[in-house]
Amino acid sequence: MTASTTEFGRPQADQKTVPRSRIGVPRLPVSIWLSGLVVLFFAIAAIDPSLLSTHSAFETDLLNTLSPPSVGHLLGTDDIGRDLYSRIVWGTRQSLLIGLGAMAVALFGALVLGFTAALGPKWIAGPLHRLLEILLPFPILLLALLFVALLGPSATSLLISVGIGTTAGYARLIRAQALKVRKSGYVEAALALGHSERTIFRQHIAPNAFRPLVALVTLGIGQSVVWASGLSFLGLGVAPPSPEWGALLEAGKASITVAWWLEIFPGIAIVLVALSFTQIGRYVQDRSEGNLQ
């Protein structure tokens, strides 16, 4: 399957559909199926955790502290007897919301900055481009410290700092795509046909510049979850007793030699989400670039 082009070189959405089996199930790689299942599980956990959890995320049981995984507590209990499986399930919403929220912040900023840097007047586009180059290597950790100092440690601080920290990369990509599309034959043809700049931007430049971002955004959600968890682990994010995954890792680290499950299972949850979104993102990317045969 290859990407096709129409007259004037305008890329066209691949007309070929995903192959299906005899019973109508899409023929996707196993890794994509598995990733989809993981995302589905955590999506349900985020939407309605009570469907999947076995206990309350906050209910303590002092007679059952640091219990290893068992039938009663699938992933064991923490230092005050809270069920770890249920805490991971209940923590999904916050972890994913931070990931998605950070991506939303990054995307909004990237669209405004990227298109302005590409299509805006020179006096603003030039300095903006330089600003993006300066922001690109700026460490997210420093931004997080700044926002935690201003807003206090919270999900909002995490969301803003991770979102702003990743904006520059996406903005540069949008700028490059917008510049490429602007010089393409179909845009020149549209100009020759007398279409207004606004129409050309809305119908040609924006959709075509944005398309490669769909895959990157999917990849970025996983990365944002990892970033947010990392910052919570460092104490810059959500505070206990929140079951946010990074906070779970932070709370369990003192007990790692006597209760391995407190670090391993939240770690696995983070890795699974990051890997799943990465797999799906790559698949979408390969399909959009026509690399899949």
Binding site: L62, L66, I80
Partner: protein
């Protein structure tokens, strides 16, 4: 043959005597601790990893006393209930017990060369008044010079525990020259004392390097040796995370680690040497806001306490590193302490009955109690420099347990900066406070329940309690000359505060350290638990 045997015997005896003489003439030649094994190494660098980094080396916070104790010396030393001489050789009290005359040592020199004498004592007093916010609760009003090496300390009230206070790490002496000429930053980061160590460098966020005071020769009698410290250098590192401190000790990067994670305490006792000290003063206690809000009602306060299983919480969270403490006013190591551990046993039914009786009979959708449309909601902000992560975990259990009786508890963590800047400290900001107050005297009651400090609202009074009659009773107990009657009066007061549930204890603030087996002689002062690195030394092997 007999002659030669005699010659050999004489030579052996002479050698033995010489060896013993050399050994005893060498400073610090005595064993530092009974039962200490191994051959001592003079010199070396002790690395200690501690949790909190205070703003200055000296001040009114106990975390500052831990540091000051290394650099300063004190008039007297507190030795397991006995007061021993230190910079003062002896003292006497006036008949009204409000004047104490101290005779000072004449051979003490500050590390900048200044001499310690009566003028030095007088020069330090204004520094104490200015630098220690709670100074007035010592009832000291000033010193007068009687001669070059004699001073009289004046008190506004008799204070039998004034010696404990003078020994507790806050009332050390700085050189008059440094007080007069050093910059505020120098006085904050590297004050000049007479102690066994002097500050070489304080790197913010990392630690302090102390160098041995080679001229030191005035250790208190309860020290294990006299003369300079055994080790040449003390590296005091600030490592806020308990797991990292524990890791540093395990890897050998540190020789002593403060507050290892509770879950590792049994390992620490197996693999290392350990020291523990229950701090005097007030334990980690819940103080209810009795000035406004739902806890003005005694029944609601008592219901809150009945709803929490304090003994089990402490056992589960601290795993033996800190004892349960029922008394919210005095910790078990404080003089004249009253044990009320069995009051307010865990009793959810009783808590519910009390809340019903107080009129909190409605319930919202989440099960929280309501009254006149208001939720029974309590805010509990806490300073993370005062309450460590394990204390915060204990608060999470309390939050869960009071939810079972319909009380909504909001636990709000504050950073060290926020906490010390006074965030959430007013009566309108909170319904419950949680924290300790290290103090070696039963007049801690005056500190934590007096509504005024120097004419202003007393920031140490976390329950915003104000009762002139009770305050008069506290001062009456403080002034009581008969020790038995004094104990009874303080016991009545402790029981009253407990019955009223104005403040209830949860656990005692305990200073635990784990020590590498290659380091011997380290000990804790019995007033504040201050570590004395002066006597610590490395052994071979």
């Amino acid at each position: 043959m007999n002659k030669s045997f005699k010659e050999i015997a004489q030579a052996s005896l002479a050698l033995t005597v010489t060896a013993l003489s050399v050994a005893f003439a060498t400073p610090g030649a005595f064993a530092a601790d009974a039962g200490d094994a191994g051959q001592r190494i003079n010199g070396g660098t002790i690395t200690y990893v501690h949790e909190q980094e205070p703003p200055c080396l000296w001040g009114g916070w106990v975390q500052q006393a831990y540091l000051s104790r290394q650099v300063f010396d004190y008039l007297v030393s507190y030795d397991n209930g006995k007061i021993r001489p230190w910079l003062a050789t002896d003292w006497s009290e006036s008949p009204d017990r409000k004047t104490i005359t101290f005779h000072l040592r004449k051979d003490v020199v500050f590390t900048d060369g200044d001499k310690f004498n009566a003028d030095a004592v007088l020069a330090n007093y204004p520094v104490w008044v200015k630098g220690i916010g709670w100074h007035s609760f010592t009832y000291m009003t000033g010193f007068t010079k009687l001669d070059a090496y004699t001073v009289a300390l004046h008190l506004s009230e008799p204070n039998p525990e004034i010696y404990n206070v003078l020994a507790n790490g806050h009332y050390g002496f700085q050189s008059p020259d440094s007080i007069a000429h050093n910059t505020p930053e120098q006085k904050c980061l590297a004050p000049v004392g007479t102690g066994p160590w002097k500050v070489q460098k304080w790197t913010r966020g990392e630690g302090i390097t102390f160098l041995r005071n080679d001229k030191y020769d005035w250790a208190p009698p309860n020290a294990h040796h006299n003369g300079p410290a055994y080790a040449a250098q003390l590296d005091w590192k600030f490592v806020p995370d308990a797991t990292t401190r524990w890791g540093a000790l395990l890897s050998g990067e540190a020789d002593v680690a403060y507050q290892p994670p509770s879950v590792q305490w049994k390992n620490a006792q197996r693999q290392f040497q350990t020291l523990s000290f229950v701090a005097t003063g007030r334990p980690q206690a819940l103080s209810f806001n009795v000035a406004r809000g739902p806890f003005t009602d005694q029944r609601v306060r008592q219901a809150f306490v009945y709803a929490i299983d304090r003994k089990r919480i402490v056992a589960a969270v601290f795993k033996g590193t800190a004892p349960y403490e029922g008394n919210g006013s005095l910790s078990r190591s404080t003089p004249l302490y009253l044990n009320v551990d069995d009051d307010y046993p865990y009793d959810v039914a009783k808590a519910n009955t009390l809340l019903d009786a107080a009129g909190w009979t409605g319930r919202d959708a989440q099960g929280y109690r309501t009254k006149d449309g208001k939720i029974l909601d309590a805010r509990l902000p806490f300073n993370q420099a005062i309450i460590d992560p394990e204390g915060a975990v204990a608060l999470q259990v309390i939050q869960d347990q009071v939810k079972a009786v319909g009380i909504k508890l909001d636990v709000i963590p504050l950073t060290q900066t926020q906490g010390f800047a006074g965030a959430d400290s007013q009566p309108a900001d909170k319904e419950i406070s949680f924290g300790y107050w290290v103090w070696p005297s039963p007049n801690i009651l005056d500190i934590v329940y007096n509504d005024k400090l120097n004419g202003f609202p007393n920031g140490n009074n976390l329950s915003f309690f104000s009762n002139a009659k009770i305050e008069a009773q506290i001062m009456d107990a403080q002034r009581e000359p008969d020790p038995k009657l004094r104990f009874q009066k303080f016991a009545v007061l402790q029981k009253w505060f407990d019955d009223q549930a104005i403040a209830v204890g949860v656990y005692d603030f305990t200073y635990n350290v784990a020590i590498s087996k290659k380091l011997k002689g380290l000990w804790q002062d019995k007033g504040n638990g201050l570590l004395n690195f002066y006597d610590a030394y490395f052994v071979k092997g």
